[in-house]
Symmetry: C2
Subunit: 341 residues, 2 copies
């Protein structure tokens, strides 16, 4: 029996606060390359690192009843290359997307793979603008945010994988867009490269009132708030919403490192929804998985035409995966964070 | 010129916390009974006392940009009787609904009056089940709450003017209903008279976690939360919502006595909207004013058939009005609170 060496990042310990390499163990083992019927041997090339991974590690029920099981490979999306195939439709060298998580190699039934056409766009986009983050941005904005031309759309974590796409999708709807991010470099990028009308560095404000006053001064009020962070930014935006505003709860990353189990206190602001007859809606990427074709039909041509900026921050080396996930919560990356093996 | 003595409660001072008689002054003056073309002289018989009145006294913008003006008659709905009329369609003795506020008599243009058919139901219902509270309960529940048969509907301030109707309307949709109110007497009434499946006295719970655990135990999870209070009850319910739950923000009375200007802290729970892909929507009675006929077409026959319990707590004497409004925030009344002159 022929084998290859398979590396895996095993999720060993549930984090209470910040996730780090301490919660994982790197193991190596022999993987048989003998393929069953319809099986494919793949080698991971790009590994996704996403905020939702930390939600799955919560000690309380989340969108799943059960937490990510301990002592198993960290789940996640992967762009891989076929090494060998015993399935029709796949040949060595083909690019595929799989959900095999943080392991260097895997034997997978072909039905669990999705082919990637590498001639259309860089294959890594299958984990970004043409993958889950793109789907989240597109459907979260169009189905829950429903922006109209002239609307003011505010995006938190606007330089992130989802937020940076929401900024651009909102501009294409004719909206005026305010991106909120951490640091002046990201804000420059939001304005100069992504086309945001305004950008604010939330770190430059001592409290939500000060940030909110500047949001009001710049925009005159908010029609759509696409929220990836929660916390202080939400506290700043909610008192500034306009009549019939739509608030999209896409992420609450400010609470992921322990604040889901023990929610931190914040001001009670729901009366603003009453005043403005606003709507707030939670959105989750999986709800739109079966509608991927709709998103690709619109966004795909924009990507192929070079009209969408899809920044990637790539760390090299399979060994970097836990550190990359930790870094996701420090907010220093721009666009989609990936690890390349 | 013939005159009568007109009593008025003048709103003199903006409250910072609890509203009371200290913020009003009772004045008397002569009112000419000489009627212009299409004018009607009315005498108030039932005066409405509503939580929204306190919102209008906030120092910050609310659903109106400007607060209730000082040194004017307290605004509000009134059921009145026509004393004299110079308008076609109105005769002495007729019952009308007007928005003339806390004054014993008024001369009003007929276009500002709505005729009440006193043969259909007690005239006071024009301020309750067949008026603004009924409209709020009906459209808030059906348009934002959207209950289905078998759903679990939780109602806060369930013994109040709006809540007690929501309980009954939800039962008519085939939902299972949990009413939350203050005190065991109200809870008995919710179960025994209004038909709630369950009732909980929030005062019997030391914190939101304990209340939430009991909500979960009784109901198995919440599909619709019709919220009139905010605060601790909302903290208890939000972690118990089920997939695609609908949360109706109809009132936040726990914050009205100062907490709109300086929101008290509470746990950040918006991640539950994300987990469950829930929707939260603020509703306001005025948005459905033009659809009153739709509500009356459905609810009117139920009321005439004696199938709806519309409890009224009536205080006697025009002089009681400020005290009645203060009492609204102490939660001791049941159903619709009215002052009879």
């Amino acid at each position: 029996m022929t084998t290859i060496t398979q590396q895996q990042w095993i999720y060993r310990r549930q984090p209470l606060g910040q996730i780090s390499a301490d919660h994982y163990e790197l193991v190596e083992q022999a993987l048989s390359t003998t393929l069953g019927t319809d099986e494919v041997l793949i080698a991971g090339r790009y590994f996704s690192v996403d905020p939702y991974m930390r939600i799955g590690q919560s000690s309380q029920p989340t969108y799943d009843r059960d937490a990510h099981p301990l002592d198993t490979v960290q789940q996640g999306g992967v762009v891989a290359q076929v090494l060998a195939s015993n399935a029709p439709g796949y040949r060595a060298g083909d690019w595929v997307r799989s959900y095999t998580g943080w392991q260097s190699h895997a034997r997978v039934h072909a039905s669990a793979l999705q082919a990637i056409d590498a001639t259309l766009a860089p294959v890594s986009t299958a984990l970004g603008v043409l993958g889950m983050p793109g789907r989240t941005a597109w459907f979260g904005l169009t189905e829950a945010g429903r922006p109209h031309a002239g609307d003011v759309v505010v995006v938190s974590a606007a330089a992130g994988a989802v937020g940076s796409l929401v900024v651009q999708f909102a501009k294409r709807h004719g909206a005026r867009v305010l991106g909120i991010a951490g640091g002046s470099a990201k804000c420059d990028w939001l304005r100069d490269t992504l086309g945001a009308d305004w950008a604010l560095d939330y770190r430059a404000y001592t409290d939500a009132d000060a940030l909110g006053a500047e949001i009001q001064r710049l925009t005159g009020g908010v029609d759509v708030y696409f929220d990836n962070t929660g916390g202080m930014i939400t506290d700043a935006v909610l008192p500034r919403i306009k009549r019939r505003a739509r608030i999209v709860i896409c992420g609450q990353i400010s609470q992921y490192s322990g604040g889901l189990e023990t929610p931190p206190p914040g001001p009670r602001l729901l009366h603003h929804l009453l005043y403005q007859r606003a709507t707030m809606q939670g959105v989750l990427a999986r709800d739109y998985l079966h509608r991927m074709d709709e998103m690709l039909a619109v966004v795909g041509p924009w990507v192929r035409a070079g009209e969408i900026v899809y920044e990637e921050t790539i760390l090299d080396g399979f060994a970097q995966l836990p550190a990359a996930l930790e870094g996701l919560f420090n907010g220093e990356h721009r666009g989609k964070l990936l690890v390349r093996a």
